[in-house]
C-alpha cells in the first residue's frame, strides 16, 4: 500500500506545507479582498438603488400631495369668487330694481297728476260749454239771454249736485 511508504512522507509534507502556505497567502492577500470588495460594492449599489427608489417614490408622493393641495385651494378659491360674484350681482340687481321701482312710482304719480289736471281741464271745459248751451237754449226759449255769470253759477250748481 503506497500510503504506508514512510520514505515518501517527507516530500509530501514538505510540498503540502509549501503549496498550502502559498495558496493561503494568495487567497488572503490577493483573491479574497477583491471578491469581498466586488460583493460589497454590489451590496452598496443595490442598497443605494433601493434608497434612491424610495426617495423618488416619496418625492412623487409629496408632489402628488402638493398638487392635490393646490387643486383643493384653487377649488375653494373658485368657490369664494363665485359666491362673491353672486352676492355682488344680487346686490346690483336689487339696487337696480329699487331704483326702477322709485322711478316707476314717480312716473305714475306724475301721470296721475297729469290725468287729474286733464280731467279738471276737461270738466271746466264741459262747464263752459254747458253754461253756453244753457244760455243759448234759454234765449231761444224765452228770447232773453241770461247773463253769463248767472248761467255759469247755475251750471256749477247742477254739476256739483250731480256728482
Amino acid at each position: 500500500m503506497p500510503q504506508l511508504e514512510f520514505g515518501d512522507y517527507a516530500p509530501q509534507i514538505a510540498w503540502l506545507f509549501v503549496s498550502f502556505v502559498v495558496l493561503l497567502l494568495l487567497m488572503w492577500r490577493v483573491a479574497l479582498p477583491r471578491i469581498g470588495r466586488v460583493l460589497e460594492e454590489r451590496e452598496t449599489r443595490i442598497a443605494d438603488d433601493l434608497a434612491q427608489a424610495e426617495k423618488l417614490r416619496s418625492d412623487a408622493q409629496s408632489a402628488l400631495d402638493s398638487y392635490q393641495a393646490a387643486l383643493a385651494e384653487a377649488r375653494s378659491k373658485a368657490h369664494t369668487v363665485l359666491a362673491e360674484t353672486q352676492a355682488k350681482l344680487d346686490a346690483e340687481a336689487a339696487e337696480r330694481r329699487a331704483r326702477l321701482d322709485d322711478e316707476l312710482t314717480q312716473k305714475s304719480a306724475e301721470a296721475e297728476t297729469r290725468i287729474r289736471q286733464a280731467r279738471e281741464q276737461a270738466l271746466s271745459n264741459v262747464r263752459d260749454v254747458a253754461a253756453d248751451v244753457a244760455r243759448t237754449t234759454t234765449e231761444r226759449l224765452i228770447g232773453v239771454a241770461p247773463d253769463q255769470q248767472a248761467s255759469e253759477a247755475a251750471t256749477d250748481a247742477a254739476m256739483s249736485r250731480k256728482s
Binding site: 500510503q3 516530500p11 509530501q12 510540498w15 503549496s19 487567497m27 470588495r37 466586488v38
Partner: protein, 248 residues
C-alpha cells in the same frame, strides 16, 4: 517505490513517483507526482479566484458566479457556525482549506491525474495542524478553563471518572476521524474505479456493463469529492467554534 512501467494493482495508482530529487540537508523534499498536483491545484484555484472574477462586474458571469458562490458558501458556513469576529479572522484559512481540498479532489478525478488527498499523510498533516491549532487557540483564549471542556458544568461529580476519559478520547479522535474520512473516501473511490476499469477489458463484449457502472460511479465520485471537501471544512469550523466558545 513504484517505478513499474505499467500500473497493475488497484493501489499502484497511489504510488509516489519522484520527478526531481531534492535533498535539503537530509530532509527529502523531492518534487513528486503528488507535489505536481498540489502545485497545479494552487495554480488553478488562484487563477479561478483572480481571473475568474474578471473586472468584478455588477451582474456576474458564469465563472464569476462560481467565485462568488464559493466565497459566500464558506462565509455563510463560518458565519453560521462560528459567527462574529472569529468568522472573519479564520475566513482566509477555511476558504483556502476548502478550495485546496475541493480542487485537489476534483482535479484528481481527471484520468491519469494523481489525487494527493488519497494519502493519509497529507490528510493527517492537515487534520493534525487543525487539531493543534484549535487546541492552542482554546488554551490561549481560556487558559486553564480549557480543561472544563472535558467536564461540562452541571454534570454531577460522580459522572466525572466516566465522562472525562470519554471526552478526552473523543477529542483526541478528532484529527484521526477527520483525516481518515477524507483519505479513505478518496482512496476507495479511485481503487473501485480502477477495479471496474479492469473489468471493462477482461469481460470483452460485456465490458459495457462495468463501463456503465464506471460512468455512474464517476458521477458519485464527483459528489464525494465535493462533499468530503465540504465536510472537512465544516468540521474545521466546528472545531474553531469549540475552541472559541468551549461548550457546545
Amino acid at each position: 517505490m513504484a517505478t513499474a512501467e505499467k500500473h497493475e494493482g488497484p493501489l499502484d495508482q497511489f504510488a509516489i513517483e519522484r520527478f526531481v530529487e531534492i535533498d535539503l540537508g537530509g530532509f527529502d523534499a523531492s518534487f513528486t507526482n503528488s507535489s505536481t498536483m498540489m502545485v497545479v491545484t494552487v495554480a488553478v484555484v488562484t487563477l479561478v479566484m483572480t481571473l475568474g472574477l474578471g473586472r468584478g462586474r455588477l451582474v456576474p458571469g458564469r465563472v464569476q458566479s462560481i467565485v462568488e458562490l464559493s466565497y459566500e458558501l464558506v462565509a455563510k458556513m463560518l458565519g453560521d457556525i462560528v459567527g462574529g469576529r472569529g468568522a472573519k479572522r479564520f475566513f482566509p484559512f477555511v476558504f483556502s482549506l476548502f478550495m485546496f481540498l475541493l480542487f485537489g479532489n476534483l482535479l484528481g478525478l481527471i484520468p491519469y491525474a494523481f489525487t494527493f488527498t488519497s494519502h493519509i499523510i497529507v490528510t493527517i498533516a492537515l487534520a493534525g495542524f487543525i487539531f493543534a491549532g484549535t487546541t492552542l487557540l482554546a488554551i490561549i483564549i481560556h487558559k486553564h478553563k480549557f480543561l472544563t471542556y472535558f467536564l461540562p458544568p452541571g454534570v454531577p461529580m460522580w459522572m466525572a471518572p466516566l465522562l472525562v476519559p470519554i471526552e478526552i478520547i473523543s477529542y483526541l479522535a478528532r484529527p484521526i476521524s477527520l483525516s481518515v474520512r477524507l483519505f479513505a473516501n478518496m482512496m476507495a473511490g479511485h481503487a473501485i474505479l480502477h477495479v471496474f476499469g479492469g473489468f471493462v477489458f477482461t469481460l470483452g463484449f460485456f465490458g459495457f456493463l462495468p463501463f456503465a457502472f464506471i460512468v455512474a460511479l464517476y458521477g458519485l465520485e464527483l459528489l464525494v469529492a465535493m462533499l468530503q471537501a465540504y465536510v472537512f471544512a465544516i468540521l474545521t469550523c466546528l472545531y474553531i467554534r469549540d475552541a472559541i466558545y468551549l461548550h457546545h
